[in-house]
Amino acid sequence: MARIVDDDQRMFMTGNEVLAWAALAAGAEIMYGYPITPQNEIMHYWTRLAPRFERGFLQTEDELSAGFTTLGGVMAGKRAFSATSGPGDILMQEPICMAEMMRIPAVWIIQQRGAPSTATVIYGQQETRLACFGGNGEGHRVVYSTSSHQELFDYLIKAFNTAWSYRFPTILLGDGYQGKMREAVTLYNPEDHGVKLVPTEPFVGRPGVPGVDRAPAHYRNTFNIEEEIYEIVHAREEEFEALTPQIVEFESGYLDEAEMILIGHGIVSRAIKEAVKLLQNKGVKVGYFRPVTLRPFPVEELRKAVEKVPAVMVFESALGQLLSMVKEAVGGLPVKIEAFLRPGVGICTDEAAEQVQEYLRKSSMVH
């Protein structure tokens, strides 16, 4: 793969532009896409950059096609990816669930917008459940939720590596804010940072005549018998669980002695981290926990974090999607679960801090 920058290079650019560069750095060979706000600029930058780096691009007739052409590209042995949002994300679930069943290591970037339906083109964390569990059920995929331009870059590279290491479709989950805002990022060649790109392999079209020199590769997603599906789903689940320690990622801080832990993912985690620092400066004992992988979800890690804490507060720009995951994860522990849910709108540092203080004031009055 060609080096994309001479040396580490600090840039000030939009998140969508970062992603186009990250895909180049990750060695992505072809993008398949259909326009939808707020991810369009990934395509715009990619179509400008791709010819310079000899990468491919195909604009398709819809997201179904974008997703299925991506699967074709991956099965041809290429690092292929697509990007979408909102209503396009719904359609993309059809190819994603075929990728789950057939273990096709395709990569998707999802920049969440408002929901449900066409809603707004701007921002939200309302596609979290869809990104993690979309499709007709029980497939396995990896979902990284990023919070900064640097993470967009780092984790898109990682997403390709995860996909091709474990053969689970992999999603990078961002949002419209991340796509459209500008902030600083350092672009680099992965090898300069000791990151090796996991090699790809063709599923079909390998050398040799099938049936003569080698067995033909026969891929399918249909089964005739109920018990086959039972076996496949269970086997996948076991494999996914076994791999979880390798894949799962989270970030936390100030957990010791915390009276409350703030939980948030993606860009909201920036606000809660800052809020925690703010409160700590004021002497308020609070910590934070941020799942970086939403699938697999850092269940054990979260349980450990909240074990000794009286309460957590979940922050999300959604009506309780992360909240569901948290509730499920901490089930059985005595921790009280509060939530600050702002479907479709951003959460600022100040208001996060205010919410926590308000809660602590009220609950101390009760005690």
């Binding site: 000030f12 706000t37 805002m181 500008r182 902030e183 860009i267 920036r270 951003g346 959460i347």
Partner: protein, 226 residues
Amino acid sequence: MHTKIAVAGEGGQGVQSIGEILAEAANRSGLETTYMPNFGVEQRGGVSIAFVQISDRPIGSPKFKRADVLVVLSPRSVERTRGYVTPGTTVIYDSSSIEAPKIDDMTIGIQSWETLAPEGFADMAGNRPGKGIKGEEVRRDSNVRTVGIPAARIAKEELQPRVFNILILGAILAITKVVTVEAAREAMEHMFREKFAQRPELRDDNFAALERGLSLVETEQAGAGR
């Protein structure tokens, strides 16, 4: 240090450039910076707002609800951005096209929509019997500083109409000191490299406007304040 700046004006007034230059300059000064335009379904029309944050620590949400500095460049944008005003906000406005904005206890913190939408859509939205965001409160104490700059007039009379926004930028720098003039100049050199190379007079015009904006504040600031 954490400064939240919103710049609002009509589509053609160059508010996004102001935001971008500010952000680029801050970034070049080694500060944490985010810049975000607002965007909606339409391609054009309506009030355009640039959101910039400059800080010495990592930044949370790239949008915000209360601005430290609010720059308003057209009558419509005053209406649209009332909600960003909070005690402590500095409001900078183009006094050649806008009357001094009436910032009173009742307008501070009022819920309004952030949008670049053309009128019809946005108005309709504003007209909905919205119940506002929970936890929102109208703040009753006001401690707002307003600074009027006759930027449009000066740009037209003394400089060029098209450098109107850079003149405003100069004023912002003078008033807020979020970034140094040198940093802003460097940012412009970087961002307009190709344009400046093709038409060197552009550089001169812009830098002249920047200077004029800086100097304007020194002379007019007191008068415009409330």
